[in-house]
């Protein structure tokens, strides 16, 4: 069990000093005193990020056995491996904020934890791989790229490496995208279909418009949040809508347009009820993917038991 930060009384002066430090751009190292609310929010963010990497492996892994070509098969295996590897790093960082990895994973497997909305949807065809690698990863890059300047140093460090790798995934994804977009009519149709199915989940990904609230203010002041949801969505659209148009595919929102006067994209408001439902593990693939996780978790109970006995024995030998 990782040690938790001792519950210090939150003296308003100490709190103000903490906020001022962070506001001035200082970063917090593992084990330093943080306000309870900061710890809670940072942990929630990193824990959910870690969960999402682990669950995010599932839609794409379905296409590893069927990937068309050796290079594609290796690249996709490598890509999914990266996601799982990111999960490994992120759980380690989350642990420094006071929860054990085993506890977080048990909660995830039991269906009591959250993970990003996009990973609750099916990956129906090979073209979904292109959409996930370019657009879903592209969306994630906006959020994670911004968080590289967050106040929790171990998270910021890991994000720096993660973003480097995500950028490579997007490059690999664009290669799949190009092959399909410049391919046969059937390949193009497959790509357009996948894009249409993924559009709403991707628009959802950034979340609803932030309400102006003391909570949001505090998250921004503490740099656990760096940019608003809408800022990130606009950033994504500016970068990725041109790719769709460049290859002559249709943006799946007939109302989407660039508003020159406002310097932003105008789009159809997605159905936010769906996002809420999906967020509560009520998406089209939530149950099936959780059931898969549970099946393997149960199948490997004896393997985990062997590992913990082995570790206990090794620790005993050291002590």
């Amino acid at each position: 069990m990782p040690e938790t930060t001792p519950a210090a009384p939150e003296d308003p002066e100490v709190l103000a000093e903490f906020t001022a430090r962070v506001r001035a751009g200082e970063q917090i190292e593992a084990g330093e005193w943080v306000p309870e609310e900061y710890r809670f929010e940072a942990l929630r963010l990193i824990n959910m990020h870690a969960n999402s990497e682990i669950m995010g492996a599932l839609p794409e892994r379905e296409w590893i056995p069927r990937a068309p070509g050796l290079a594609r098969k290796m690249a996709l295996t490598a890509k999914v491996q990266d996601e799982v590897g990111h999960g490994m790093l992120l759980y380690r960082v989350a642990e420094t904020l006071g929860r054990s990895r085993d506890e977080m994973i048990a909660e995830l497997v039991a269906g009591r934890a959250r993970f990003h909305n996009v990973f609750h949807y099916p990956a129906e065809t090979w073209a979904d791989v292109a959409i996930i690698q370019v657009f879903v990863d592209g969306a994630a890059m906006q959020t994670q790229g911004a968080l590289r300047s967050c106040s929790y140093a171990p998270y910021a460090r890991v994000l720096k490496r993660i973003c480097y790798e995500e950028d490579f995934h997007i490059q690999l994804g664009l290669d799949v995208w190009r092959a399909l977009a410049e391919g046969t009519p059937a390949q193009r149709a497959m790509l357009q279909d996948a894009l249409c199915r993924w559009w709403t989940p991707i628009m959802h990904f950034f979340g609803m418009l932030d309400r102006v609230s003391p909570h949001t203010e505090k998250m921004l002041a503490w740099r656990i949040k760096v940019k608003s949801n809408e800022e990130l969505r606009q950033q994504f659209l500016r970068k990725f809508v041109p790719i769709i148009l460049e290859y002559g595919l249709d943006v799946p929102d007939p109302n989407l347009r660039w508003a020159e006067d406002e310097q932003r994209y105008v789009y159809t408001e997605p159905d936010w009820e769906e996002l809420k439902r999906v967020g509560r593990n009520g998406g089209p693939k939530s149950a099936e993917r959780l059931a898969l996780r549970q099946r393997f978790h149960a199948q490997h109970a004896w393997v985990r038991e062997a590992m913990s006995r082995w570790r206990a024995r090794a620790d005993g030998a050291v002590a």
Binding site: A71, D82, G85, M88, L89, R92, T96
Partner: protein
């Protein structure tokens, strides 16, 4: 190969190679030690590269980047880029500058053998534990520093 003084084109070619980065790491392929040799004849350039790991998904990307960078160079009519297996890639192929770049990216690099005791790239502590021999990419293993509690990765050459 002609062993005369490097021509302007030779110099330009090496400058171009130094500008090509590994797609997954902030390091040039020259500093990473991937370039085995370069031959130039009548504007035709043949580059041989050594893969760190044979199955690395970045190999094709690197090859394409090198080729297009060379073709963009005035005086280059054609360029071929091949991987060769006649010499193994080892960590001593890394340049000092490359090592420093990898360290600042949070990647620890063994001096010459993977079996050396690892050091945390963030705080310099030796109180580290290997989490997995296999990291997020083929060429890295993962560790946890028990001093500063940062997870980090370490370059893993083929055994």
């Amino acid at each position: 190969m002609v062993t005369s003084a490097p021509t302007t084109l030779d110099t330009a070619i090496w400058d171009v190679l130094r500008s090509v980065e590994d797609p997954e790491l902030p390091i040039s392929i020259v500093d990473l030690g991937l370039v085995r040799d370069v031959q130039v004849q009548d504007g035709r350039v043949a580059v041989r590269l050594i893969p760190t790991w044979v199955a690395c998904p970045a190999l094709a990307v690197i090859r394409a980047r090198v080729r297009s960078a060379l073709l963009a160079l005035g005086g280059v009519q054609d360029a071929t880029v091949e991987y060769t297996y006649d010499a193994p890639w080892t960590v001593d192929r890394l340049s000092e500058r490359g090592r420093a770049q990898l360290a600042s990216h949070g990647l620890s690099v063994p001096r010459c053998r993977f079996a050396e005791p690892p050091v945390c790239p963030y705080c310099g502590s030796r109180d580290v534990v290997q989490e997995s021999m296999f990291g997020p990419t083929l060429c890295r293993a993962t560790y946890l520093c028990r001093s500063c509690r940062n997870p980090f990765e370490r370059f893993k050459p083929p055994a």
